[in-house]
Amino acid sequence: MSASTLAALFSPASLAVIAACTLYGTFIGAMPGLTATMAVALLVPFTYFMDPLIAISAIVATTTTAIFAGDVPGTLMRIPGTPASAAYVEDAYRLSRAGRSRSTLMVSLFAACIGGLVGVALLALIAPQLARVAVQFSSFETFWLACLGLSCAVLTSNGSVAKSFSSLFLGLFIATIGIDVAVGHPRFTFGNYELFDGISFIPAIIGLFALSEILRSAQTGHRDQPANAAQESFSKALHEAALVLRRFKRNIARSSVLGTLIGALPGAGADIAAWICYAISRRFSRHPERYGTGYIEGVTDGGSANNAAIGGAWTPALVFGIPGDSVTAIAIGILLLNGMSPGPQIFTESPELVHTLYGAFALSNLAMIPAGLLVIMASSQVVRIPRRVLMPCVLLFSLVGAYAITNSVIAIWTVLALGALGYAMEANGFPLAPAILGIVLGTIVEENFMTSMMKAQGDLLAFFDRPWAAALGTLTLLLWALLLTRGIYESVQRRHYPSPSSETETYP
């Protein structure tokens, strides 16, 4: 890193922007329903007035902290602040209800910091090699990759296989609403022009995760205080977090590296990295049965993987101008506005930009520690706010946040419909996470399937023609076979050993 880059990075303006964006990212990430992508999107108007190098630092600092801060409402209220926190929200929430919210959040903070630093180190080390592979991906490989992501959604959920799949198919159905990609035929819009663009993702996630939670909270009554109001002391939490980090250092190392690699694949961002690393962690854990019941191991994996993926996502963005996720897509737009076109030439034409990016990543991951500790200390205040005060606030923020995405009432209807659906699904033991992944990945799967089919003129075997496509496709099919076996095993086992509580409600 040259002296001029260091001087630019440590200039008062740059440091002030990184500090401000760290706090901003923490706030937006910690607000249920406001995502990291939204934080960056809302930042875009401000970056017009900034030097491109500082604008990049601002984006990096905002995403880094927003992805971590998404764990805060997830842990305290079971509302993931960003989709990237959804993979392990169940474990984190149950730990918090057992009075361990601070140590859980500290584990996720330090795991996020380590993941982020590993992510940027790998980005700097192997960016060109990795991107060379990723850029060879055509619609065939992307199709398999998205299918793999969908399968992971079912693999990671805790409910029965049939209910997880139902949730996934509901999500896939929601993804098909709107103009279709192949011939432009409107599907399930019933003549409503505002539905032609499809269901917007952010109102959908606000409905499924935030509103359903508010509805359930309304039914549990206002008199019972949340059981997780008790929190550990700061020093005890820090001590406990240190023990957990030492115990699961291998998990953090594995998920940081894996998260970076997944993040580097186009279309797969922090949320998919967290899902896949959580699934892998469960697979290799000594206690896979404890996942989803309030077990910290999955939190270390998911927490480090999603922050590592942020760095990874910049790899194809920087080297080939292909966004790794929605955030880098926005960032590429800002670079283009400033007259810089990302691509292989950026390493030779403006190396200072690449170096500033690395530096900004390292700095914001370190700045995240004090900001994160601050928010963890203040989080107890969030828990002590009575629900009758908190829930109207969350409701208004959710509704206005959804409205801000589309600037139209259609966002309110999306929140309403999916909130009611999510509430009904949860009341009957259907997991929500596969639905949200179905919504995100459904579009990607369909677009790439249709593109591939048009290229191959309907020849399905073309999906195995290219070496990477064949490898990814075989992996996906193996996973599907595994899921099918599990489903059959589940139903056979039920027939032999009917559960005594089978006719009772799924809730106490």
Partner: protein, 157 residues
């Protein structure tokens, strides 16, 4: 909002059937046997199969562990009515947002929600007013989200 598995399974089968019927009316791609209807049909068939398994498969089933640590749902019509009342509040918010404007609609929605969650009338007004102003400052003034003014349009700035 409890339904048993037989009911939810039947609803899924019914819904899948409707989607499948609707998707069969979509045009197909030139030269291929499928088109816009393919993915909705896959989702619909998936829903029908899963719905049949849930509703009419073997009756023994695993307890869903997803929300076991949640505080127990309270029984009785009053408790069941509260989520319904909230849904009506949001419906009203969507309907009134444009005609009344963001400020009046938000004030009403927040007060109503606070009342539903058991706050007294005075407290709900004390909560709704600063919250509405705060959200206005954050989203309208700072983030430039064009929130509708509705009835208050003459005093818009």
């Amino acid at each position: 909002m409890y339904c048993n598995d037989r009911l939810s399974g039947s609803l899924l089968v019914l819904f899948g059937g409707l989607v499948l019927w609707r998707a069969s009316t979509f045009p197909s791609l030139a030269g291929l046997e499928y088109g816009p209807g393919l993915f909705p049909s896959i989702a619909a068939i998936g829903l029908i199969v899963c719905g049949a398994l849930i509703g009419f498969g073997s009756r023994g089933r695993r307890k869903a562990p997803s929300t076991l640590t949640m505080p127990p749902r309270q029984k009785g019509w009053r408790m069941a009515a509260r989520p319904l009342a909230l849904l009506i509040v949001i419906l009203g918010y969507g309907l009134l947002l444009d005609p009344l404007g963001f400020h009046i609609a938000s004030f009403m929605a927040v007060s109503a929600t606070a009342l539903i969650f058991g706050m007294r009338a005075g407290g709900s007004v004390l909560l709704a007013l600063p919250l509405m102003i705060g959200v206005h400052l954050l989203f309208y003034s700072l983030l430039r989200v064009p929130l509708p003014w509705g009835l208050l349009a003459p005093m818009a700035w």
